[in-house]
Amino acid sequence: MQDIKAIIASRVAKEFRDGDTVNLGIGVPTMAADFIPEGVDIMLQSENGLLGLGPASACGEEQFDLVNAGGAYVTATPGAAFFDSVMSFGIIRGGHVDVTVLGAMEVDETGNLANWCIPDKFVPGMGGAMDLVVGAKKVIIAMQHTNKGKHKLLKKCTLPLTAVGVVHMIITEMGVLEITEEGFFLTEINPDYTIEQIRAATGAEIKVSSSLKDMTV
């Protein structure tokens, strides 16, 4: 399991360009920070009011007023800036975040995203997710390809939407898919899987790139 998460996080990190401002969701997306390639210098934005998010705090060295958007104690990098929630979401909604990486419950072939609520079961709220996926220049979904075998990549989302037509790219342990006008488009494949396995694990049609590459992790 840890391996699967590391594969996804490692591939996500290859999407970052030097100088990018990036917002990483809780879980696998946050792990991407551990895989940033040499020579790529990015600033992590945390929607609770920080640009220049650093690694988790060492035990015993927590600063009581410094957490990430998941409420965990973190550090700030040199050159960081703190601001309030209004400025933070001004940055997000205003298109100043280059890449946001989030998990999902469902993504459909038109780029619709559902990741904030399972009615009557688990309703944690959208937090900053709706703002992030509408505002960020590039929206990457990083997640396991299925939920214990149940399809998450669908023809049409069934859960309440987070936003309409916002997803650009999905990175799973099986490969990399882009959302195009023709739906899911497989551009990279993890050599541990076959195209047929990916098709079986996906609830919608998949077009395969004629220049399909091995997934770089």
């Binding site: 009011g49 009581f64 909604r93 944690p124 937090g127 900053g128 703002d131 509408v134």
Partner: protein, 226 residues
């Protein structure tokens, strides 16, 4: 222009049943715990709370929820409060609350709109989702936006790191979050701060909430440990 330094109990004395209250903080950081404790002690009921989140189970707004004082919670994310995130009909003390979930940027911006005299905001966030249900949309330059109405309150309970006797406030790191904007959008703003300093001790360039927004000050609160 000194302001009255009061105890937490004195500060919340004016908060009656049915009040609409903004509570600062994000994931319990920057939350005015001492003011919430005093409000729990006072026991005001049927409160409408506007807050980024639901605190944690038994922390922050979570205390008011546990104590059955909340009628309605307007928030963005309640997942860190396990009692609320997994709420089910067999947990009446939690479930009898009306939850209104709002995108976090919209929440911040609608509070700001109330504080700065705008009639609402035009945001692309929430279009095509449950958030947009029943709401007006406005087209500007061919693009559609959701019209979200301002959020104002009777009271704001906020927390700072340092305040002077005039009410100028400095926040520390990520504890700033919703505290600044909530100070602008409530009729009566109660600030608690870790340290109270003399007027003139804060560099006017570094003030994050100017004194005019603050109505009463509770000093000497403890650093918040989650």
């Amino acid at each position: 222009m000194k302001k009255k330094i009061v105890t937490a109990e004195q500060a919340v004395e004016c908060i009656g049943d049915g009040a609409v209250i903004m509570v600062g903080g994000f994931a319990s950081i920057g939350t005015p715990e001492e003011l919430i404790d005093a409000l729990v002690k006072k026991g005001s009921k049927d409160l409408t709370i506007i807050s980024c989140d639901a605190g944690r189970a038994g922390l922050g707004v979570g205390k008011l929820l546990r104590n059955g004082q909340v009628k309605k919670l307007i928030a963005s994310h309640v997942g860190l409060n396990t009692e609320v995130a997994y709420r089910t009909p067999d947990q009446p003390e939690i479930y009898h609350v009306e939850y209104v979930l709002v995108p976090q940027g919209t929440l911040a911006e609608c509070i700001r709109a109330a504080g700065c005299g705008l009639g609402g905001i035009l945001t692309p966030v929430g279009l095509g989702t449950a958030v947009a249900e029943g709401k007006e949309t406005v087209r500007v330059k061919g693009k559609e936006y959701l019209l979200e109405e301002p959020f104002s309150a009777d009271f704001a309970l906020i927390r700072g790191a340092i305040a002077d006797h005039a009410g100028n406030v400095i926040y520390n790191m990520t504890a700033r979050n919703f505290n600044t904007v909530m100070a602008t959008a409530a009729e009566h703003v109660i600030l608690c701060a870790e340290e109270i300093v003399e007027i003139g001790a804060i560099d006017p360039n570094h003030v994050m909430t100017p004194a005019l927004f603050i109505d009463s000050i509770v000093g000497g609160v403890k650093p918040c440990r989650i």
